[in-house]
Each structure stands twice: as structure tokens, then as C-alpha cells.
């Protein structure tokens, strides 16, 4: 049976040196990649908080059956003073059109 020849101490030192070079290279490349990614992210972000599109989530079910719940909803339509009785000619007519 053949056995592998034993490496010399010089071979081992060379291997260790290559491993160190690979490790250092990988670290440098990784740091450069992180820095580059950060730069791109910073350039493309306007500083405002992430926003979810309002009102409505796109859902798969129709929501129109919820109309009956309106009576129990808490409306926040803006109020103003009630109208008063008036006489004479109107400045305008209200009504659908």
C-alpha cells in the first residue's frame, strides 16, 4: 500500500501563509461589499419612515357585505353648525343633479 509522503515544515508554512492570504482577502472583499451595499441603500432612501399604502389592503374577498356594519361604526365626518330657517329667495338650490 502506498502512503502519502510527509510534508516538510516549509510546505506547512506555505500553506498557512496561503490560508492567511485567503482569509484576509475574503475579509477585505466582504467589508467592501457591506460598505458598497450601505452606500447604495443610503443613496436610495429618502429618510422617511417606510409607508404602507393607505386605506386598503388588497384582499381576495369582497368587502361590500360590511355595509350593514355602518350603523355601528363611529363616524368622524366633520360637523358644523346646524342650518337655520330662512325666508325669501335662495342664493342657491341644493339637490342632486
Amino acid at each position: 500500500m502506498k502512503t502519502q509522503a510527509r510534508r516538510s515544515p516549509a510546505d506547512r508554512d506555505n500553506a498557512v501563509a496561503r490560508l492567511r492570504a485567503i482569509s484576509i482577502g475574503t475579509t477585505v472583499v466582504s467589508l467592501a461589499a457591506v460598505g458598497g451595499f450601505g452606500a447604495v441603500a443610503a443613496a436610495s432612501y429618502d429618510g422617511s419612515a417606510p409607508e404602507v399604502m393607505t386605506a386598503a389592503v388588497v384582499t381576495t374577498d369582497a368587502t361590500t357585505d360590511s355595509t350593514s356594519a355602518a350603523a355601528t361604526a363611529a363616524p368622524t365626518l366633520q360637523r358644523t353648525s346646524a342650518p337655520t330657517t330662512a325666508t325669501g329667495k335662495g342664493h342657491a338650490s341644493t339637490g342632486s343633479s
Binding site: 422617511s48 409607508e51 399604502m53 393607505t54 386605506a55 386598503a56 389592503v57 388588497v58 384582499t59 369582497a62 368587502t63 361590500t64 357585505d65 360590511s66 355595509t67 350593514s68 356594519a69 355602518a70 350603523a71 361604526a73 363611529a74 363616524p75 368622524t76 365626518l77 366633520q78 360637523r79 358644523t80 353648525s81 346646524a82 342650518p83 337655520t84 330657517t85 330662512a86 325666508t87 325669501g88 329667495k89 335662495g90 342664493h91 342657491a92 338650490s93 341644493t94 339637490g95 342632486s96 343633479s97
Partner: protein, 367 residues
């Protein structure tokens, strides 16, 4: 042309200006397929008129459903994809979604396909007198939650095939914007006067009102002449109860009604208020609803919701605390939230009286 003694407006496209009272000038014309009235309580109405015209042109280009080149028509064609919209259309969609949320979907901007399906697919003059074959089908309304809006990025995303129709809230918003522009045009402060803008009966006022407030004739058709002694149309509530006039000093008053914008297809009659639950013209115990609120958008939202909600409208309006006047299909009038009885000072009580006989002794409590 400014003349004395009449507040009636022109039904043509040509503006007509009249001296409505000793202190106001009233100008009427047509735009967006409806009647426009501008009343200015200021020395010179012309800057206000120009401002209103400019706003309505912008509105027409942004969200008219009947213009092939409008922004909303283009956005509807791109349903299913993110569309960047103008600030005006973004605001209009935001207002419509807010209305939908506040009414739990009773006022829904996704009724566009349903509206077309029942025949309201062109300017109303064409709808009323169709030349082609009759085809009616009902379309399920997808619901306002199928619309997503980023207000800051002005991007809108709808599900494929969803068509937005900003009809009711869009008209109210246009009245609010036009009133704001007109008020700014006359100087932007109450000391410089006040303005009233009526867009198809959605009325917004700003600034210093005339003595006694801005007087509004209650009708079901906003084209009803404002002279209370003449000119009402047969069959309208104004004929049954001529001359009910209220006054507002701030905010807005809007009316929704099933008695106008009606059309026939075969044996069926349709109107322009779609029930989002069915996709069909709504069947409601109320034929007309008028509401006073801080803005025309909110007043129109509440008025339209009242028609759609039917009997549920009374508790809903009570909860909202909005002054309202509902006319039932038989002509009974329900007044809520401090809406005044005719010939009586404003009172907070709720009451019901028969249309045409607003005598106090015929009032009964509404339960």
C-alpha cells in the same frame, strides 16, 4: 352681464351673472355635466369666477369618468399595476377611500364597472337617450379595500379590472376646492367678503356670509330655480313642498337623490346611486337626503350613505351628529340633528312631517 333682481341661472354653457341681492352677485353656468352656481358677497366677482372655472377644468381633466383623456380613465385602464397620479387625483382618491371607511363601504369608489354595467357609461344626456341596443348586467362591486393608495408617493394600486368612480365624493371635493379658490381670489379673508359655490347641489361656503346667512332652497333637483314662487318641476319634492329655505353661515350642504339622473332600460328604471352590496341602483326608503357638514365632501358622503343605508341612516346620522333632512319615497320628511322645521327656529329635536304640510301640529316623533 350683471343685472338686477334675479338669481336664476343659465342652463346653457354661457355664464350668466345676476345681482342676486343687494350685496351678492350670482353667476351660473354648466360644467362637469352639471349646473354650477357661484355667489359672491364681494365687490368684484370676476376673479372668483375665473378661479372656479380653473379648478373645475383641473377636476375635469383629473377625474372625469367620461373623458377618454382624463387621468382617472388612464388609471382605470392600468388597473392591477401601480400608477402614479397627480396631487389632485391623489387627493380625490384619498377622499373617496376615507368616505368608504367612514361609511363602512356604503359609499364606495369601486362602483365604476357596476355603474357602466347598468348603463351609466357616458355623459348623462347620452345615457338618458340611448341610441344602441339595450344590454344590462349587474357587476359585483369589488369593494374599496381592493384599492391601495400611497398619499406621499401619490401611487395607487387597484386589483385588476377594478374601475374607480369618484362621482359623489369627487363632486363634493370639487365644490370645496372651488370655494377655496374663489375665496382666495377675492382676497382670502372674511373682511373681503364671502363666496358660495354650488356644484350640482353640493354647496360649499367660505368667508363672510350675507346678512342672515347663505340661503339654500331645498329641492331634489339642484337646477330648480331659486325663485321660490316659480319654476319648480312637476313631480319633484320642491313642488310638493315649495319654498323650504334654510340658511348656513359656514361649511357645506349637499343633497343626494334618486329622483334625478334616472334612465330607462327596457322595463327597468335605474338611477345613479349604486348599492355596493348588489351592484344595482339602490332601493331605499329615502328618495332624497340632505346633510350639513364642515365640508362638501363630508356632506355628500353622509347624504349618499343615508340613501344607501336606508332605515339604518337615521341612527347612523344621529351617531355622526350631522344635521340632516331625509325625504321618504312617500314624501315624509325626517329632520335630524337640529335641522330646523320650516317657519321655526332651529331646534335639536328630531321630528317627521309630511311633505307639503309642514304644519307643526302634524309633526310626530320619529322612533
Amino acid at each position: 352681464v350683471i343685472g338686477e333682481g334675479s338669481a336664476e341661472g343659465s342652463r346653457s354653457g354661457t355664464p350668466e351673472a345676476t345681482r342676486a341681492t343687494e350685496a351678492t352677485v350670482s353667476i351660473g353656468w354648466r360644467a362637469l355635466g352639471t349646473g354650477v352656481r357661484l355667489v359672491v358677497n364681494a365687490a368684484d366677482p370676476e376673479p372668483a369666477r375665473r378661479a372656479v372655472v380653473a379648478v373645475l377644468e383641473q377636476v375635469d381633466g383629473a377625474y372625469s369618468r367620461f373623458r377618454d383623456d382624463s387621468e382617472i380613465v388612464a388609471a382605470n385602464r392600468r388597473a392591477g399595476r401601480v400608477v402614479t397620479v397627480s396631487p389632485l387625483l391623489g387627493d380625490a382618491i384619498a377622499a373617496a377611500l376615507r368616505a368608504a371607511e367612514l361609511t363602512a363601504g356604503a359609499v364606495d369608489p369601486t362602483v365604476g364597472r357596476a355603474m357602466r354595467a347598468i348603463g351609466y357609461d357616458a355623459d348623462f344626456d347620452l345615457v338618458r337617450n340611448p341610441a344602441g341596443p339595450i344590454e344590462i348586467r349587474l357587476e359585483r362591486v369589488p369593494g374599496w379595500r381592493t384599492v391601495a393608495l400611497s398619499a406621499s408617493r401619490r401611487e395607487v394600486l387597484t386589483r385588476p379590472r377594478v374601475e374607480l368612480d369618484l362621482g359623489s365624493t369627487g363632486k363634493g371635493l370639487a365644490a370645496d376646492l372651488a370655494a377655496a379658490a374663489a375665496f382666495e381670489a377675492i382676497g382670502g379673508s372674511a373682511s373681503r367678503g364671502g363666496v358660495l359655490v354650488s356644484l350640482g347641489g353640493d354647496i360649499a361656503v367660505l368667508g363672510n356670509p350675507p346678512t342672515g346667512g347663505w340661503r339654500i332652497l331645498m329641492a331634489e333637483d339642484s337646477d330648480t330655480p331659486t325663485r321660490t314662487e316659480t319654476g319648480t318641476k312637476a313631480g319633484t319634492e320642491a313642488t310638493a313642498n315649495p319654498g323650504e329655505v334654510v340658511a348656513i353661515e359656514t361649511g357645506a350642504l349637499a343633497t343626494s337623490s334618486t329622483t334625478v339622473r334616472r334612465w330607462q332600460r327596457g322595463s327597468r328604471t335605474f338611477h345613479h346611486i349604486v348599492d355596493p352590496r348588489t351592484g344595482d341602483s339602490v332601493v331605499s326608503p329615502w328618495r332624497t337626503a340632505s346633510v350639513v357638514a364642515a365640508t362638501a365632501v363630508d356632506a355628500n358622503t353622509a347624504a349618499t350613505a343615508a340613501i344607501v343605508l336606508g332605515v339604518g341612516a337615521v341612527p347612523w346620522l344621529r351617531a355622526a351628529g350631522l344635521p340632516a333632512r331625509l325625504v321618504s319615497s312617500s314624501g315624509d320628511i325626517v329632520r335630524l340633528g337640529g335641522w330646523p322645521e320650516p317657519d321655526a327656529p332651529a331646534a335639536p329635536a328630531t321630528s317627521m312631517s309630511r311633505g307639503g304640510s309642514p304644519s307643526p301640529d302634524r309633526k310626530v316623533a320619529f322612533s
